[in-house]
């Protein structure tokens, strides 16, 4: 009995000691302001011990090359601004468990050899980059070989990209070999790519707004098992590009106004076993461009006012289009050959002119979404100049009555008579945003 109580006292004593020790190591806050002990962030970071908080008060600091090599929290209060003055990187993180929150970082010059960024993380994990504003930088947030990081609530604004060269711009958020990242609620604009992911696995990208970027709103390659939900990609030079990846989930995203001679809403190249549900594609030159993509489940999407809703190249196999709405598109589906094993079912096509005698809301006549002219354009691009010509309309109508050239198997056997109504919380997110 005595032994036991001795043990308990011992355990309690250790616990108290541990707690005390914790409060000692994690308690101190180093303030940075014009009149404080520390007048520069660099000093404070150098003096800080692991677990400390560097609290930066409002004001402008002209600093660059702040290296964070211990697990600390850098916190901004009253919107402090750190001006890099085009001299190099502002914050470089070389330690695990660092949090950077509430700062405004600006002015990073273009550097082709070093790829300067406002915040760079080098081979570390558990980094949290929250609610920062990053203005006028080459790269915004750059993570390399860093796992389990959170990038949330940041605003990354570059410059007006009109007339600029792709190589003169960096990416707003750039991740390279980073697993389990969470990128959410960020606003990205005026860069080359809004979000660039390469070799990033098991990550989540949600609620971001990426617009007015020169190239892609979202660009990812070799990044398997990621989830993209509730993002908006708008007015980017070429839309969103997804390449060489598998097991992706893209849901509730909005792709709009990606309009131009070489623009896409969503470009899919070598994607397989992925899910594309409940997205809206509005006013894109091409809604979805699909090349060598297989086993995709494309369901409940809205294709509205696109030039081409879907361009399905003949290298695509086993893709399923179900319960989508196709409205006001110049071309619903176009293809360059005879793609096989792709399945269209229960979609709504506004160009469908069939009837429904048994009133089961499914048209009795199959619909062929590929028009003869769209195939011709795919084969001979210059023939696009005859768009809206009377000859072309006539050709399409004749082909519709007696199909002989358009691919046999590209057909929706059960087109819907009415628009598919499905539950989606897209409207809600729009209001929230």
């Amino acid at each position: 009995m005595r032994d036991l109580s001795k043990h308990i006292i011992f355990i309690l004593a250790t616990l108290v000691l541990l707690l005390l020790g914790n409060s000692v190591t994690y308690g101190s806050t180093l303030k940075v302001c014009k009149t404080c002990t520390y007048t520069s962030v660099k000093q404070a970071v150098a003096k800080a011990k692991p677990g400390d908080t560097v609290l930066i008060e409002g004001g402008e600091y002209k600093e660059h090359g702040i290296e964070v090599n211990k697990p600390i929290t850098i916190l901004g209060r009253n919107y402090p601004v750190i001006d890099g003055n085009y001299k190099g990187q502002i914050i470089t993180i070389t330690s695990d468990n660092v949090t950077v929150e509430g700062l405004t970082l600006k002015n990073i010059g273009t550097s082709y050899t070093r790829d300067d960024a406002a915040i760079r993380v080098i081979e570390r994990s558990n980094i949290r980059i929250l609610n920062n504003t990053i203005l006028n930088t080459y790269f915004g947030i750059y993570l390399q070989n860093s796992d389990n990081c959170v990038i949330k609530g940041n605003v990354v604004t570059g410059q007006d990209v009109k007339g600029l060269n792709e190589s003169a711009l960096g990416n707003a958020i750039h991740l390279w070999y980073c697993d389990n990242a969470v990128i959410s609620n960020n606003k990205l604009q005026g860069h080359r790519d809004g979000i660039y992911l390469e070799f990033v696995k098991d990550s989540e990208v949600k609620n971001n707004l990426s617009e007015n970027n020169l190239r892609y709103g979202l660009h990812f390659m070799f990044s398997d098992r990621n989830v993209y939900t509730h993002n908006t990609f708008r007015m980017n030079g070429a839309g969103v590009a997804v390449m060489y990846t598998r097991d992706i989930r893209m849901e509730h995203n909005t792709f709009e106004n990606n309009w131009g001679a070489a623009a896409y809403g969503l470009l899919l190249k070598d994607i397989s076993s992925s899910i594309i549900h409940n997205n809206t594609f509005r006013q894109n030159t091409t809604g979805i461009y699909m090349e060598s993509s297989s086993r995709l489940d494309i369901k409940h999407n809205e294709f509205d006012k696109n030039g081409w809703a879907v361009r399905l190249l003949s290298s695509c196999i086993q893709d399923t289009f179900r319960l989508n709405n196709f409205t006001s598109n110049s071309f619903d589906v176009s293809t360059n050959g005879t793609p096989t094993m792709n399945h269209f079912e229960n979609n709504y096509w506004d160009k469908y002119s069939g009837y429904d005698l048994d009133k089961d809301k499914v048209g009795d006549v199959p619909y062929r979404p590929v028009s003869l002219y769209s195939m011709l354009v795919e084969k001979v691009p210059p023939s696009i100049m005859f768009m809206r010509s009377f000859m072309v309309d006539m050709m399409d109508n004749i082909e519709k009555v007696l199909p002989s050239f358009i691919p046999e198997n590209l057909v929706d056997e059960q087109p819907m008579m009415r628009k598919n109504n499905y539950d989606n919380d897209r409207k809600l997110t729009k209001v929230v945003r």
Binding site: W259, G260, A261, A262, A263, T285, G307, W308, S330, L376, K379, V380, P381, P382, S383, I384, M385, F386, M387, R388, S389, F390, M391, V392, D393, M394
Partner: protein
């Protein structure tokens, strides 16, 4: 000469057909502008109808009118008036009355509902198309004395420019699809006033982004003021060539 133009003009305006044509165009354009909310879309639909109906009506009306006023022309030829002047006043009378109908029928609604540069191009294209097809109608009518034959030729001309030509070009493009055809397409479209007019208007609309590389090339050529001037210059050439050819035939021929 002015007197003859005035006479022909009033003669046609009194004619119920031109009035009906004006009303038809007016109803069509107002209807299209009210149907869709977007004026750009209405202009696009209007463009299709204009490029189909305006050449047809112009060419048929002008041909029949020419044959119907044959006696009047014979009477004028007996007077001390130059044949060229007679021909020119006939031409201007018909072309002006038809294009007046077009401006009233399409130009006014465009001005009210969708006034833009594209709208202006549409109206200008329509006026040029009217002048071109009236000139072609006159060419068809001076070639032969036979009214039925003349109307047949006129219809064939319309059929060729509105339909067959596009078919032939598409066939050519398809057969030579292994070659870079952008410049060839440009040249080929210049050989058909209807295609030329359509492209001038289309390039100014949003849909031009669909046209990819070819569209970009066209835009780089036709997008500038100089390019648009060139395109309308080509259209003017399309008016002048058939007009002068037919005038030559008319002034030399035994009536």
């Amino acid at each position: 000469m002015n007197k003859i133009i005035k006479y022909v003009f009033y003669d046609i305006v009194r004619n119920k057909i031109v009035l009906a044509y004006t009303l038809f165009l007016l109803l069509l354009s107002i209807g299209l502008f009210n149907l869709g909310g977007n004026p750009d879309k209405a202009i696009l639909s209007l463009l299709n109808l204009v490029l189909l109906t305006v050449p047809l009506i112009s060419i048929i009306f002008a041909t029949t009118h020419f044959y119907n006023s044959y006696e009047f022309m014979e009477l004028l030829v007996a007077q001390p008036i130059n044949r060229k002047k007679i021909f020119m006043s006939e031409y201007l009378g018909v072309a002006c009355s038809l294009s007046g109908a077009f401006v009233l029928g399409v130009g006014l609604p465009v001005l009210f509902f969708g006034a833009s540069l594209t709208g202006l191009y549409l109206v200008l294209t329509g006026v040029f198309i009217t002048f071109i097809f009236v000139a072609m109608a006159f060419l068809a009518s001076v070639i032969t004395r036979d009214k039925a034959k003349g109307i047949g030729i006129a219809l064939l001309l319309w059929f060729y420019f509105a339909l067959i030509y596009d078919g032939i070009v598409l066939f050519i493009l398809y057969s030579f699809s292994d070659y870079p055809l952008e410049n060839a397409t440009l040249a080929l479209t210049a050989l058909n006033p209807i295609d030329l007019g359509r492209i001038i208007v289309l390039l100014n609309l949003d849909v031009s982004a669909l046209m990819g590389y070819t569209g970009a090339l066209y835009k780089s050529i036709l997008g500038s003021l100089w390019g648009v001037g060139l395109a309308f210059g080509l259209l003017l050439l399309w008016v002048l060539v058939p007009y002068f050819t037919s005038r030559r035939i008319f002034s030399k021929r035994d009536l």
